[in-house]
């Protein structure tokens, strides 16, 4: 097919069921005369009404329930919720509890990033249908990924009872804090994981990524003293600076015209990018020295800023960070005097944003005088990124129009996977109308 022919024709690229993403979604790209007229990432995850399910529940029940929005990043949901409530109720937790929460988040980042890099994303770059297929040819690489994922899961299991939907996060702290001796067995595998993560950075830095440049507005938490998990201010590459409870001063959810989809936009209607690449760009100074060094060695900071395909590298650098910080946290860990401080509910608005592996996750609850939720709003990173994804698709698509359909579709899918979209998270953006010419 020549360029002229393809330009003349109208073409619809469809990926019925996106694979190696979490949840169910599809992609429709409509091209007319070489121009993309429609780019839409569609979600057909069944609605589960989480914002309603938490109504009338107590804060601790809410923490258990919202974890179920996503099996890959339940901790992120628990963290945004617990900080929202604690902020609203004026609860001050023990510093060791704060450290333990960072360690818990490290576990989730390690697990999620290792999963995404090795099991979901790397096969794209290397031309395999799955990590299992990849393992036939490069078993050590897949085993490396699994090793890191396992240590992330082990951190979660020790702190929270199990890796998926851990049970110990409570308003005021934890239902139980581990003894020092319980964290000991993590040291050796974490040391190994640190080496594995460095190797991962070397591996992914050497991959070939499609040439694609765009400079989206990037948004992430920023904290002067630490790489952001639970604290810091919401900042952006264009100068935003907000408390994590004030997300809705700068952003809002909008209904995409002609559809049911709720996307997040800045108040001026712009799209923005969340996630590892944004964090690396905004928070590079706060990376763990080991991670900073590894990043510098690649010399690819700019590539991360401008080419979303390099989010895999950003993720790998964060993997080093999370592992290195986990080691430090374990070294300096002392069990809190009180695993959970006593608290009482206050009516008001409980809002907070934390950094899920995929980016900023915002929760907002209206709490009544009995401490029960009256209204809830949950804005997951994927629904915030969706605008940026579609922008990217529109811009990137012309470059693949000359490729055979299979390959073109693969490139588009790979682009979507670069965002690590978590579709089951996206509980309330939903597009059921399929526009076809």
């Amino acid at each position: 097919m020549t360029a002229a022919e393809s330009a003349a024709r109208e073409k619809v690229y469809e990926v019925d069921e996106l694979t190696r993403v979490e949840g169910e979604g599809s992609l429709v790209l409509q091209v007319r005369k070489g121009k993309v007229v429609e780019a839409r990432l569609k979600i057909f995850e069944a609605p589960r009404y989480f914002e309603q399910l938490v109504v009338e529940r107590t804060p601790d029940e809410v923490i258990d329930i919202v974890a179920r929005i996503c099996g890959i990043c339940p901790v992120a949901y628990q963290m945004s919720a617990v900080h929202a409530f604690e902020d609203c109720f004026g609860v001050k937790v023990d510093p060791e509890v704060r450290a333990l929460r960072r360690l818990l988040y490290c576990g989730e980042w390690i697990e999620s990033h290792a999963l995404h890099i090795y099991l979901l994303h790397l096969p794209d770059f290397l031309g395999y249908e799955s990590a299992i297929a990849l393992a036939q040819d490069d078993r050590p690489a897949v085993e490396r990924g699994l090793r890191m994922k396992k240590v992330g899961n082990e951190i979660l299991a020790i702190l929270g009872g199990r890796p998926i939907h851990p049970v110990s996060v409570r308003v005021g702290g934890f239902s139980r804090a581990p003894r020092r001796s319980e964290l000991e067995p993590l040291r050796a595998p974490l040391a190994q994981a640190l080496e594995d993560a460095k190797e991962t950075v070397r591996l992914v830095a050497g991959l070939a990524a499609p040439a694609f440049e765009r400079e989206p507005r990037m948004v992430a938490l920023h904290h002067p003293k630490e790489y952001p998990y639970n604290h810091g201010h919401i900042q952006s590459t264009d100068g935003l600076d907000l408390r994590p409870s004030d997300w809705d001063r700068a952003f809002r959810e909008v209904q995409v015209e002609g559809t049911m989809a709720l996307h997040a936009r800045t108040k001026d209607g712009g799209t923005y990018l969340l996630g590892p690449a944004s964090r690396i760009v905004l928070d590079a100074e706060q990376l763990h020295p080991v991670a900073r060094e590894a990043l510098a060695a690649t010399g690819m900071v700019d590539a991360i800023r401008t080419n979303i395909y390099w989010s895999i590298l950003a993720r790998a650098v964060e993997l080093i960070h999370a592992i290195a910080e986990a080691i430090d946290l374990i070294d300096s860990y002392r069990p809190p005097i009180e695993a959970r401080v006593a608290w009482g509910p206050r009516p008001g608005v409980a809002a907070w944003a934390t950094e899920a592996p995929r980016g900023l996750l915002f929760h907002r609850y209206e709490v009544d005088e009995r401490g029960r939720v009256a209204h809830a709003q949950i804005v997951p990173p994927t629904s915030q990124n969706q605008g940026a994804i579609e922008d990217d698709l529109r811009e990137f698509a012309p470059s693949v129009l000359d490729l055979p359909d299979d390959e073109a579709t693969l490139r588009l899918e790979q682009l979507i996977r670069s965002y690590d979209p978590c579709i089951s998270c996206a509980t309330h953006f939903l597009d059921v109308r399929i526009l076809r010419d």
């Binding site: 694979t19 190696r20 979490e22 949840g23 057909f44 069944a46 609605p47 589960r48 009404y49 914002e51 309603q52 399910l53 938490v54 109504v55 009338e56 529940r57 601790d60 258990d64 179920r68 996503c70 099996g71 890959i72 339940p74 999963l115 099991l119 096969p123 249908e129 799955s130 990590a131 299992i132 297929a133 393992a135 036939q136 078993r139 897949v142 699994l146 994922k149 899961n153 009872g161 199990r162 998926i164 939907h165 049970v167 110990s168 409570r170 239902s175 139980r176 209904q255 049911m260 709720l262 608290w343 509910p345 009995r370 401490g371 029960r372 009256a374 899918e413 089951s424 939903l430 059921v432």
Partner: protein, 320 residues
Amino acid sequence: MAAMAQKADRGRPGEHGHAARGGTPRPRVGVVKLASCDGCQLTILDLEDHLLELSEHFEIVDFPEASSARSNGPYDVLFVEGSVSTPDHLRRIGELRKQARVLVTIGACATSGGIQALRNWADHDAYRAAVYPTPEYVESLARSTPISEHVSVDFELRGCPISPEQLIELLTALVTGRRPQLRDEAVCMECKRRGIVCVMSAQGIACLGQVTQTGCGAICPRMGRGCYGCFGPREQANAAGLARWFQASGERSAEEVGQLFAGFTAYAEPFRSAITDLGGTRGARRSGGGGFIAAGGTGAGRASYLAGTRRMEGIDDDGR
């Protein structure tokens, strides 16, 4: 591991001389989801130490979360995650059943309807309207239901999420062709074996361990809190007896006791009846519903005896 890695002939069962599998192709395995959080299928990927070994025993033909390779059956073993929650699910589950020789439901959503089944006590339209600005676009059924309400199920793995140990046991049993050994007993048994001090007797924390099926490793009591029943009711669970005790001993109101059962396996009997007997779910009442939709019913079949008639009791504890 190294020895296994040599097995390049992926279509073959290997040379272990296992009579049952000798000469036959690897079983074709599918993993699909309906309404769920993906956590149970993630548990398969979390079998880090066994994942590659597994792929030698099974041919994974459908696992969208992990592989771009697609098939639409047939399956020797099909793992289904999630509850039946949309008209499309209704259609798909029937087709999937036809394609599957052995159908295994994994997790609380698939085995009991999941947390989203709390809407079964509520007014579905009110729920839809509360979350979505233009609810008429949203295709969802009034009730979220377990797979077994629609098609026959060969095995079920409980839990929110499922236990990796039980998953391995099931897979191993499928490989060997024996019956999986999954205990049907109270979480308490696991607590006691592990030497965990009972949080209910020693701290007065409400715990559903006694009526909940084991398998999780008693993680909640181990973590200093009460079991919230995510593995669902065990055989002959005396939920009514426990509910009476909670009310009599703990000075908890019927409503609060109902909330204890209104969790991730709320729609599984006898938890379902316990919740209904104790007045339905709080959230449902707040949203203007409060009725309970009779089994098999649509919106029209909703029993009205609770709807709007029950005022919320003024309970003011909940520092928990």
